[in-house]
């Protein structure tokens, strides 16, 4: 038992700065989100805000309505990069990925469904 305790003590003491520091370092990194993931999430919020504004105000002129599509497309790819970033929190990358995916497919779904309602040539 004494040997075991000594070994443990020696083991932890010996690698205290190495492994412990490693773990500590990994933990401190993991609490920060990925930059690309966070950017992806921010772009998704901007795209969603534009979608909301265009729905609430009816404003869709000058291509403003479609700017959300390009923003979310960029956000979507940033989200993918964020998902593959290691040793960082991927929370925002996951949110960014799915939100941008929704915003990218949203106009296509709307177009298809709207076309089926009272379709006129």
């Amino acid at each position: 038992m004494e040997l075991e305790m000594k070994n443990r003590r020696l083991g932890s003491g010996g690698s205290g700065n190495g492994a412990g520091g490693g773990v500590g370092g990994s933990g401190s990194k993991r609490k920060f989100t990925t930059v690309t993931g966070f950017l992806s999430f921010l772009l998704a919020l901007i795209a969603l805000a534009i979608v909301n504004i265009s729905f609430l105000t009816g404003f869709n002129g000058d291509g403003a309505l479609f700017s959300f599509f390009y923003i979310s497309l960029l956000g979507f790819f940033l989200g993918i990069v964020g998902l593959f970033t290691k040793k960082r929190s991927r929370l925002f990358a996951i949110w960014g990925f799915f939100l941008n995916l929704f915003v990218v497919i949203f106009p296509f779904l709307m177009f298809i469904l709207a076309y089926t309602i009272n379709a006129t040539p």
Partner: protein, 345 residues
């Protein structure tokens, strides 16, 4: 002796263990335990980060509400067998079979989809003489598949009553009482200038075949709409005593794009098909129709059983030609509808 030795050894081990444990804790605290200031900073940063994450995610959820609700609404109304198309079909076809000589351009029906609601707008037309005149429009709002009472804006000289009663109708079954002075209507027709075209509602003395009706009038009179006997027009009320309005169909082929009476099938067959559609959606159809009872169960079975028997018609043509209708024995009563300047070619 041996037991004492064993006890001592165990106590020594226990003391060693406690001492190592104490040393480890002290060493850990010396090495890793951050100062109070650092601890506070860590907690503050953690709180801020958690707050920021919560705010961002809440914002995302809030921003998703409108697009998701809109998408769900379109999924509900859209699709191949979407509710919107059925409701539009019911509203449009109802006009053809319940409003005499009235039609619409199905291609120009406007729809507006909101959150789980829809509104449609369309213009209605009447053929008077040889031209189609816009005689008003309809606005109908829906919540899901439930329509509200339609807003009718009819620009007619003699508009039909919004809440119909037997005495305010224009077409009468041979068994029904004609509540107005029949001579007065002929006088109106006599008093109209020769250079006009008119629309006249004609009620017959007996049931007739659709082809007989078409042959009965001269070449310069066009039969526009045929009122079909559905077994309840004699009483002008349904079995519950609610007033009913005529059911009928256009006598001519309608070349308007997407009109159900465009000649692909016989108008009589299309009429039955429309009644079946209305019967399937009778709740909506009853709200949209002027009459608060369509009684389609009984009326549709009667028509299917007895075939198409016509008791009245809407005709149009030059006013002088329409005056000659007075000489036809089968004509029981007329009601003059709309009058327009000469357009007969």
């Amino acid at each position: 002796m041996k037991e004492n030795d064993n006890d001592k050894r165990l106590n020594k081990e226990e003391e060693d263990y406690q001492s190592i444990l104490k040393e480890s804790i002290e060493e850990f605290e010396e090495t890793y335990k951050p100062s109070d200031e650092v601890q506070k900073t860590i907690i503050r940063k953690g709180k801020n980060q958690a707050l920021l994450t919560t705010i961002f995610i809440s914002l995302a959820v809030l921003l998703l509400i409108i697009p998701v609700m809109t998408l769900l609404t379109y999924i509900y109304y859209g699709g191949i067998n979407g509710k919107a198309n059925t409701e539009i079909e019911v509203a449009a076809n109802l006009i053809y079979v319940t409003e005499p000589n009235m039609h619409l351009e199905k291609m120009r029906i406007e729809d507006d989809i909101g959150f789980f609601s829809m509104s449609i707008h369309f213009d209605v037309f009447k053929r008077i003489g040889m031209e189609d005149y816009r005689v008003g429009d309809y606005d109908i709002d829906y919540f899901l598949d439930r329509p509200s009472f339609p807003q009718r804006n009819l620009l007619l000289e003699r508009p039909p009553e919004n809440i119909p009663q037997p005495e305010t109708e224009f077409l009468f079954h041979p068994d029904a009482y004609v509540p107005y002075d029949r001579g007065g209507e002929w006088n109106i027709l006599e008093g109209l200038p020769d250079g006009t075209v008119s629309e006249v509602y004609v009620s017959f003395t007996e049931m007739m075949e659709p082809d007989e009706v078409k042959r009965m009038f001269g070449r310069d009179v066009e039969v526009r709409w045929l009122a079909v006997n559905s077994g309840q027009e004699g009483r002008q009320r349904d079995i519950n005593g609610l007033p009913i309005t005529p059911l009928g169909y256009p006598a001519q082929i309608d070349r308007t794009t997407w009109s159900p009476f465009n000649g692909r099938s016989k108008n009589e067959d299309v009429f039955i098909e429309i009644l079946e559609l209305l019967h399937e959606n009778e709740e909506s159809a009853t709200v949209l129709a002027r009459a608060k009872s369509l009684a389609l169960e009984e009326r549709l079975s009667f028509i299917k059983e007895n075939g198409i028997e016509v008791y009245g018609a809407v005709i149009t043509g030059p006013t002088p030609e329409l005056r000659e209708v007075q000489d036809i024995d089968e004509v029981r009563a007329i009601k003059v509808g709309e009058v327009k300047l000469w357009n007969w070619k």
